[in-house]
Symmetry: D2
Subunit: 397 residues, 4 copies
Amino acid sequence: MEKEMKAVRLHAEWDPKPDFKLGFKDVDGCQTYLGSKVWRNPQIKIEQVPVPKPGPGQVLIQVKACGICGSDVHMAQADDDNYIWYPGLTGFPCTLGHELSGIVVEAAPDAYDKTTNRPFKGGEWVCAEEMLWCGSCKPCADGWPNHCERLDEIGFNVDGAFTDYLVLPDRCLWSLNSLRDRYPDEEVFKLGSMVEPTSVAYNAVVERGGGIRPGDDVVICGGGPVGLAACAVLKRQGAARVILSEPEAARAEIGRRLGADIIINPLEEDLTEKVLEYTNGMGASIYLEATGLPEVVYPAIEQAVWEGRTLNSTIVVVARADAKMPVTGEVLQVRRARIVGAQGHSGHGTFPRVIEAMASGMNMLPMITKEIRLDEVPENIVMLRTDRNECKITCIL
Amino acid sequence: MEKEMKAVRLHAEWDPKPDFKLGFKDVDGCQTYLGSKVWRNPQIKIEQVPVPKPGPGQVLIQVKACGICGSDVHMAQADDDNYIWYPGLTGFPCTLGHELSGIVVEAAPDAYDKTTNRPFKGGEWVCAEEMLWCGSCKPCADGWPNHCERLDEIGFNVDGAFTDYLVLPDRCLWSLNSLRDRYPDEEVFKLGSMVEPTSVAYNAVVERGGGIRPGDDVVICGGGPVGLAACAVLKRQGAARVILSEPEAARAEIGRRLGADIIINPLEEDLTEKVLEYTNGMGASIYLEATGLPEVVYPAIEQAVWEGRTLNSTIVVVARADAKMPVTGEVLQVRRARIVGAQGHSGHGTFPRVIEAMASGMNMLPMITKEIRLDEVPENIVMLRTDRNECKITCIL
Amino acid sequence: MEKEMKAVRLHAEWDPKPDFKLGFKDVDGCQTYLGSKVWRNPQIKIEQVPVPKPGPGQVLIQVKACGICGSDVHMAQADDDNYIWYPGLTGFPCTLGHELSGIVVEAAPDAYDKTTNRPFKGGEWVCAEEMLWCGSCKPCADGWPNHCERLDEIGFNVDGAFTDYLVLPDRCLWSLNSLRDRYPDEEVFKLGSMVEPTSVAYNAVVERGGGIRPGDDVVICGGGPVGLAACAVLKRQGAARVILSEPEAARAEIGRRLGADIIINPLEEDLTEKVLEYTNGMGASIYLEATGLPEVVYPAIEQAVWEGRTLNSTIVVVARADAKMPVTGEVLQVRRARIVGAQGHSGHGTFPRVIEAMASGMNMLPMITKEIRLDEVPENIVMLRTDRNECKITCIL
Amino acid sequence: MEKEMKAVRLHAEWDPKPDFKLGFKDVDGCQTYLGSKVWRNPQIKIEQVPVPKPGPGQVLIQVKACGICGSDVHMAQADDDNYIWYPGLTGFPCTLGHELSGIVVEAAPDAYDKTTNRPFKGGEWVCAEEMLWCGSCKPCADGWPNHCERLDEIGFNVDGAFTDYLVLPDRCLWSLNSLRDRYPDEEVFKLGSMVEPTSVAYNAVVERGGGIRPGDDVVICGGGPVGLAACAVLKRQGAARVILSEPEAARAEIGRRLGADIIINPLEEDLTEKVLEYTNGMGASIYLEATGLPEVVYPAIEQAVWEGRTLNSTIVVVARADAKMPVTGEVLQVRRARIVGAQGHSGHGTFPRVIEAMASGMNMLPMITKEIRLDEVPENIVMLRTDRNECKITCIL
């Protein structure tokens, strides 16, 4: 008889808006790249589902920890017309949860542990990339898996980790082994669930932003999980001053524990003025836009670039937003500056480096402000629509 | 008795607007960083002036060719309140002309030819950077002379080359020797006068834009001297398709002679659509904004980046303009794209490489559409306020 | 009834030397990473074999052209103990041939054309990477497919292209479509078979060597196929002077047709001295070691770096050789130089760029000095053990 | 009457060996680029000399601290023929000492503080680059001041800092202001004297070696001042494991205090084996050769690169040595590795970043193992010919 397990699953109705057309990766009734144009009346349910079995190249993982992400909230949240907020790739019903760690239970014979280049034997402690890049399309072949043209995503159109077991392809798994020397077991799994969001920040500032050199100053706008993780990553890379702009005191305090040297409250202080004051008129090497309000934040960043004497600043835009940024080319010219966009976390050696950085002391646990059980996931996803106090809520299994 | 010579000099009256304050490099009555806020009633005159003498580290050059630049036009052009158009560093009266080539006549004993690392002996054929970077400030010490904090500029606040002789520091001179094998003498001097504007384009697309790899496609918006030179440089760097967007047929034709494979008339064709059509839906690796109308051009570029499948595109903004560009961060994120600003031409091995590229066949002479004598410089500077037919007008001495 | 076809296949006996141990990827009796330690008494045979069928993600290709590579020669050549010369990954019997072009005949429904990101329909003209990188191991995940830890190779341990049909995974195929506007059909297939060796050169000088900027000088040591292709690639990238060091006049002449400006005969001339003479004492930006005799060539390159005034030179070692190079650290210090190794051709956008460079005029046909039929492949592989006149011998099907 | 001061000065006799010829920068009887070929019978003397006066662009500095460098020892040390050991640029008699910090006493009106871009007023606390790059030669113009073709060097051919006052050009000075918030005054000057040697390490691993990403492992061979400083810099840049290979226990202990996580004793342990053990078979991202015995150390590094699975390793050679390294190109190919040489400390924003890194906690004081007075400098320079216990001996003034 088939084994069963509980899973937090999202259901919604396929009801495309009039202007929607099936796209390349869309499957009628099942899957779309434009979630908010199609899915209506989202409902989170805890259901009994069969424990899956690993196919070729796949691995069965027992989940040990899984964090709630903002996109989980937006998938389950309806707008005034009852369409879901989340605009991206989605295929429902789907088990949610993609910030996961766990233990390998069973593996196909051709499923390999990248860390050892040996087949999985079972018992390995791992975390997972959320992006199931195909490894065959032009971006993947060229080395840009974050821009895979045939992407699947765990917890969005492939069953995720708010459950006991899930099946994943070997290529998205990374060993947590090196964390075990420094941290007790339960912390290893919690840290493991933090690797994905930390890698988003690492990809943004180190891979896309080009990183810094020891002694540089940086400005992080926005103390959400990505901004906070960026504080830790850039402090680790040798920032002299990590300046975090964040109005919420609780968030700012987490930033401080993770590496922020200076906090600016942008509702009470002038960001440009304070950045210039703290940096002795120089400004910063990296500015990270992680607020989602680029139309508000960009002008202040640009002014700091303009008035500061630092050359070669990079403005990294990592938060997703529709709004236009009013960019003055002359500022980029006079200060030799640039603007880059960042998305994803895969490739470029990011996951293994984040794990090694954690293993050598970059402790991301301060980000986890609440631990819950599987049953509590739905209510916490709903609660996060309005809550601003919690940072990362993590389900422990 | 002191030797004299004729020089095309710009005079204007020091009459600062009310909001003007003397800045760091400004000298009351003489020099400012904000020309259009200070100088009134510009007048170009041909005057007799003494032949200068080289001081320590300096070289006396007999001018052989000097091109007219748009900034010459804007320095000599008054707005409705009779203030000059040109907004930058200026110190009047000043002999105009900075796109120059000539022959070394006399040199201080400590004035060295960078090409040979030997003292100048006289007789060397040279061209000059227009930017007299100081070599001592923080940007210069760090390797960014285009952002020198104590800059002087030939033909703006230091006497320039619309005359028979000028004195320049050795550090701004580059030998034209390697051109002499391929080109007749008179062409060497004309090409020499083209090194400066070509270097502005080279700095924009190769140094700041990061260049391309052979087989990439590029889009150049604007067929002014910088845009046209960029066509030649990028074709030289192996562009598969150089796409030039330029409405004027005569400019487009020069672009074609310099290396453009495809011309788009942006007044009659949709830039985005045509770029995607010519590149089989891929878009380009570099987009150069060289029109000065970024608010018009940027949205079309962004749309091509968004719809094209090319990753890692670089949008280089080289034309100076006040207007804001409405930038969508999501486009930079999804396409792994970036925006950079470019200014200047100095440093990074740019001048010597431009000369060697010319010496091995990158012939920029099609850009010179008119040759004039010194006496004709003033009227041609005036004529260029309205003329759109001429590309580069070059004074031959 | 199963369809059959003729194939040029290599047989050899599994007879490991005493010191051989089965390694990670080795399969007893079938496949090894250390060919010359295992395989004895190689024999090339023309045999009847079944036409293969594409499995999931695979494509059936009708071969139109396939070049003979030096490794084909070394796999079929025995040393004094009758072991094969070729030291690398091999699994016999195996159909030889990996420099191929052809037409898609049939494709699995999930086999995609990277160029269009659409499923193959049949009829597409394509070429193939020889390296079947796995897309899942750590190097592949990090973006370094040329260093795949679970590599297969066409014509080495996977059946190759000296036959009528072969089956390949979609991920290794690249469309030749863009060549069809410029070249007649039969030339498209010949050029298609040249994409792989040209990509080895492109990977070496552009990806690994960092490329050049227009106006730089380069030195290519060795006029084998990789060295010659590098002449074309670097001329395309804007080299002012491509200097080719090659003693054989016929090879040198091909180099000239492909882009070499200057030929040095290293048996009659002093390489260092001539390089310095031709570059006015500067030396070159890239030195490519493509002779396989680094112990002879490196000291001459190092001397040119030492005596030349060029900084930041890159010495790229692409030819495989056991011999040690005597490297003087001080030369790398004083000239800010570096040495890099290059292997492979996959990833980094290399294949599609090589195709686009050919499509826009980089014509590699001069490298093909002889065209043969399938029946003639074995005798030509044998002939190439001693022949030094032919450059690339290509089988036309 | 002229003010006088005591100075530690080196005298030697101009007695060129037979094969010596005056070179480009040599001045007969006074100065040479090849010290060990010319200077005989070196003698260190403490003499009375006039306090110098600053000329144009110059600054008079009161010395507060100055470290003894190995080159000070080698300049004052004679070989069996009584020629000095030091092989480089030298002009005697010359006041020694180039690792200096001090206070600006007087400045020419055109001498600027790079940190503020304002004229020096007097009273500024500063340190100095040792290299007086000219700012005008081709390497300086291109942005490579460490390879200046018209270099002068403080304490080698220009009077140095083992005295009360010295005159220096403004361009080589960097403010120590930012250190004053964190450290007591006397430590600021000691740290200031450490900026130069730390910058040599920073230039080697960050600028030339390309640095690391947080989570990478590194191997430092040699616990001299440069190797030890590299431990601190790379730990600061986020190294997971800094592995220091150094046989002397005292040096190793300093390394540990500066950031080394693991010590290997290369006289008792196998470097390759231990590196692979500590890195779980991966090897390191950067290997720094800082021993001066590359012929011994390189083979062990190469073996670690070969056997480790890390790709893209960089081997940085910073110690000066004549010996050849036996380099196997295949290792660089298979592991995508490279070798670079590093010299100097100027440019690239290195000095100001080292100061900011110190100001934010990178404390280099453990390197200073002995503090002395000016009178004691000569005997300590002599003592260091044989002593292996002291790391940095610093003269406090």
